[in-house]
Symmetry: C3
Subunit: 207 residues, 3 copies
């Protein structure tokens, strides 16, 4: 089940990369790079930190394959549908939702792998949060865009709370249940924060 | 012969870094960083993914040495020659050519190393393409410049076709011949695409 | 003593990250990410190059803990003090000083670790310089800011001279003394260069 979830995370994050490629009017290869970097960036960073090499995506072609396929199908879809301004705000919302699901899935998986690698629970939660966030940060840096994580919304906070939720539930029940709960918490919080316009305090007094 | 080609790739990619340092009016150390990052970035990424540590350039001083020397000599050369606008377009072309040769050399070497590390042929081609492209992407990100790879030109496509060419030729003939063919295909395609103004389809309908 | 110095480096670099988060008006989590990335970026890069995994900060919670604490305390401090323009130039100077101390500390430690990992002296100096500079470069790239290292000031040069100083003094005396001397040389040179407005030659003739 974890493997399946991992592939779902790959597809939604690849989609978020493709949506930004569309926004930035990149070509197919730019879109492929952005989709793949978003999809495998978090797991790559996690495994490099833990010394798990050769990396998972060099050993299993489904990761790059699915991410590339998502980028190609997105390009076709974007060209089929017109892009007047009403649709545009639709795509912007699709980007935020795909990003939230990818964040939630990769955070839960990253926390699990951190515990398996013998990290302390707190550090496993941090590793989960980093796995979840890194792909999106990489995507935004590559596209020369202000990273979503640096905007005032609840973002990494949602990932951290999901990871803590995993750590609380897993010892009592099972890995699968903990993963589902953690995903619901992270994605739910992130989407609620977007809808309700919840923010974190800033470094600068706004009065 | 592969080692020699590797060093040639280092010099041309270092030169492309120095040309961007000139464009951005960086100082000598900025130029050194950009030259070195471009020259060893692709190989560093490749070896981190495959778990080949400590990295090649920490064990052999020729890599950093040649890249630094290229940066220093370029700085002297740029200061000797005046920079009126006619010359400027000359330098812009030099950048595209140096970048194309570096891309071709590192793609061929990366594909070879991928096969040696036991990757599947398809994944070895991807690894070769990534090795070839990553240095230039890193250079452009560090210099806060829109990455060449994200522009509409044929770029990573040329690398991928070169890598596939290596995989087709190597089993029939030898590593050396496959490498030369792959380099010719990648560099040739990339330069033709620049000259003929070939593009990939974009994510956005241009009508 | 090295461990203590390492933690001091973490705090000052985290502070430099928080100061940039303030300048960019990021929220608390943006500030945390920037503080942590600056504080552990150099050591992470160094250990990835040398294959020292799992990384130090996944095994010892003081690193992330101290960096996060610095980011939180800075946010509180920034909100308590008003930010009229006179204070602003004060904070800009604080950023340059924190950055110089972090650069000096991590360069000395990186050189030591390079020698321990069996690198040649020259390569250990380069590794020290890279450890010192990388955190700040990462911080500036994440904040979409022109990296300090690419500005015309003496920056990496100060790190390199500090590293060379460590290599000269350590065989004659002790690791501790060499580290203190190297830190003084790097931080002293960097601060002098800022105060006296020393620059490196550029790639572009300014006449």
């Amino acid at each position: 089940m974890l493997y399946l979830l991992d592939l779902i995370g790959v597809v939604v994050f690849a989609l978020s990369g493709a949506l930004i490629a569309r926004e930035k009017r990149y070509d197919l290869f730019g879109g492929l790079v952005l989709a793949v970097a978003t999809a495998i960036g978090g797991g790559t960073f996690r495994d490099l930190c833990l010394g798990r090499t050769p990396l998972f995506w060099t050993q299993d072609e489904w990761y790059l394959g699915l991410a590339s396929l998502t980028a190609v199908i997105s390009l076709l879809a974007f060209r089929l549908w017109p892009s007047d301004s009403a649709i545009s705000s639709h795509w912007a919302r699709a980007l935020l939702i795909a990003d939230a699901i990818g964040l939630a899935v990769f955070t839960a998986i990253g926390t699990h792998i951190g515990i398996q690698a013998g990290l302390s629970p707190l550090m496993a939660a941090v590793m989960g949060m980093v796995s979840g966030c890194f792909g999106g940060v990489l995507r935004d840096v590559l596209a020369a865009r202000e990273p979503l994580i640096f905007q005032r919304d609840i973002y990494a906070t949602a990932a951290l709370l999901g990871a803590l939720c995993w750590l609380l539930i897993e010892p009592i029940t099972s890995v699968d249940l903990a993963t589902l709960c953690a995903i619901s918490v992270t994605a739910g919080l992130r989407l609620l924060a977007i809808q309700r316009n919840w923010h974190l305090p800033t470094y600068h007094d706004d009065r």
